[in-house]
Structure formats: structure tokens, C-alpha cells
Amino acid sequence: MGKVNTKQIKDVADKSEEIGNKAYETFVEKGKVEAGKLAIAAFKNTLYANSLLIKNEKI
């Protein structure tokens, strides 16, 4: 995996984590279902991106 890809993946991981955290807070405060769904999707992306980064580090 090239450097560009790693950067991009890192960005995706960070951004999706941010979005997920915000949505999570909204869900906890207001209990909005949509926020919950958004948080789940965002966290899913974060997990996948993180796993890719770790895999890349190990190669």
C-alpha cells in the first residue's frame, strides 16, 4: 500500500470517528434514531479503516 493510500485511509478513519462520536453524543442526549444509525455506520467505517491501517503497519 502506498503512502497516499495510508494518508487517505487515516483521514477517513479520523473523520468517520469524529462524525461517529458526534452522532453518538447526539443519540445519548436526544435519543434520535437517525443519529444512532449514523453513528453505527460511521463507527463501522472507522473500524474497517483502523484495521486496514494496522494491517498496513505490519506489512
Binding site: 470517528e17 461517529g20 453518538y24 443519540f27 435519543g31 434514531v33 444512532g36 444509525k37 453513528a39 453505527i40 463507527f43 463501522k44 472507522t46 473500524l47 483502523n50 484495521s51 494496522i54 494491517k55 505490519k58
Partner: protein, 183 residues
């Protein structure tokens, strides 16, 4: 009346009887297999020794016909489940197993299906409840297992990922309570 430990089948010691213990000897509570208490009554002591031997090396003693009159309860001494037909004693007196198949495989209870009058299932509520509590509390190991089921290998899973997964699971549980199922 002689009372027996429901777990290992050993005769309960005087201390347990005085305390009106719920049919489980103290040693069993400490996860030992049998009671080491010495009885004053020689008859009881002899009987208890026989049972101890029985639990320590059942098959050898049965082969050599050394064992005295012990009761064949047909219960798994580990989980208390009534043994299934396959595990039960054969007509010649030789036991095929003393432990139910599920205990051997480190599972919690016997799941072989029988007619209700033949097989009574003794459920171990404490074990079941503790397992439920572990899952509810979302310990790191539990979350790690969730991640493994999704497809992540153990070498990829980091503490950060565990934290994120925890949040995700919490949201999912909350949504399920409201009737919303998210994959």
C-alpha cells in the same frame, strides 16, 4: 438421614449439616471435587473414602471390582445434569462415562433431547446468569469476540477498536429496545 452433596455426591460433613448448607459441600463451593472432611463414625468414613476413590479414578476401580456399594445416581458430577442414555451405566455395571458429554466438551449443560419424564434438566441458574452478566457488561474480551465474529482477526484488533465497537454495540442495544434493528 444422610445428605449428599448435589454436585459431587459426597456425604455432607457435620459442619455443612449444622449450617444447613444447601446440599453442597464446602469443598465443592471452593471448586474442589470432593469433601476432605474426616468423619467420626467409622462406617461413614469408610463410605466417604470409597466415594472419594470413586470420584478420583472411577474406571480403574470398577474394572478391578474394588468399589463398595455406592449409588449410581446417573448425574453429571460437574454440572448436576442427569446423564443421558449413552452416558448411563451399562447393565454389566461398567460405566461408559461419569461425566456428561457436554461437560467433557467444556459446555455447560446436557442438551440431548429426551421425553420429559426420562430426562429432567437441572439448570444451573448462577452459571447462566453470570454468563449473561458478562455479555451485558461488555468486557473487553466480549467485545473482542464480537469483532472476531464480524471478521476481524485478533492481530488487527486494537484497544481503540474495542472502544469504538463498545459504543456501536451500546447504540445497537438501545435501538433494539425501541424496535429498530440495524445491521
Amino acid at each position: 438421614m444422610i445428605k449428599e452433596c448435589k454436585k459431587c455426591g459426597v456425604i455432607l460433613c457435620d459442619k455443612n449439616l449444622e449450617l444447613e448448607c444447601d446440599r453442597q459441600c464446602k469443598q465443592c463451593k471452593k471448586k474442589n471435587l470432593f469433601c476432605t472432611y474426616k468423619y467420626e463414625d467409622p462406617e461413614l468414613e469408610a463410605y466417604s473414602i470409597i466415594r472419594r476413590r470413586y470420584f478420583s479414578s472411577v474406571i480403574t476401580y470398577q474394572r478391578n471390582h474394588r468399589i463398595g456399594p455406592y449409588k449410581r445416581k446417573g448425574e453429571c458430577f460437574k454440572c448436576g445434569v442427569i446423564l443421558c442414555d449413552k452416558n448411563h451405566y451399562k447393565s454389566d455395571g461398567k460405566a461408559s462415562n461419569t461425566q456428561c458429554k457436554h461437560c467433557r466438551n467444556n459446555q455447560k449443560s446436557c442438551r440431548v433431547s429426551y421425553p420429559k419424564d426420562v430426562c429432567k434438566k437441572i439448570t444451573n441458574t448462577t452459571r447462566r446468569n453470570s454468563a449473561k452478566l458478562r455479555t451485558d457488561a461488555l468486557y473487553d474480551n466480549v467485545v473482542k469476540n464480537y469483532l472476531r465474529h464480524v471478521g476481524y482477526t485478533t492481530d488487527v484488533i486494537s484497544p481503540e477498536m474495542i472502544e469504538i465497537k463498545k459504543k456501536q454495540l451500546l447504540i445497537k442495544r438501545e435501538l433494539r429496545k425501541q424496535g429498530v434493528w440495524v445491521r
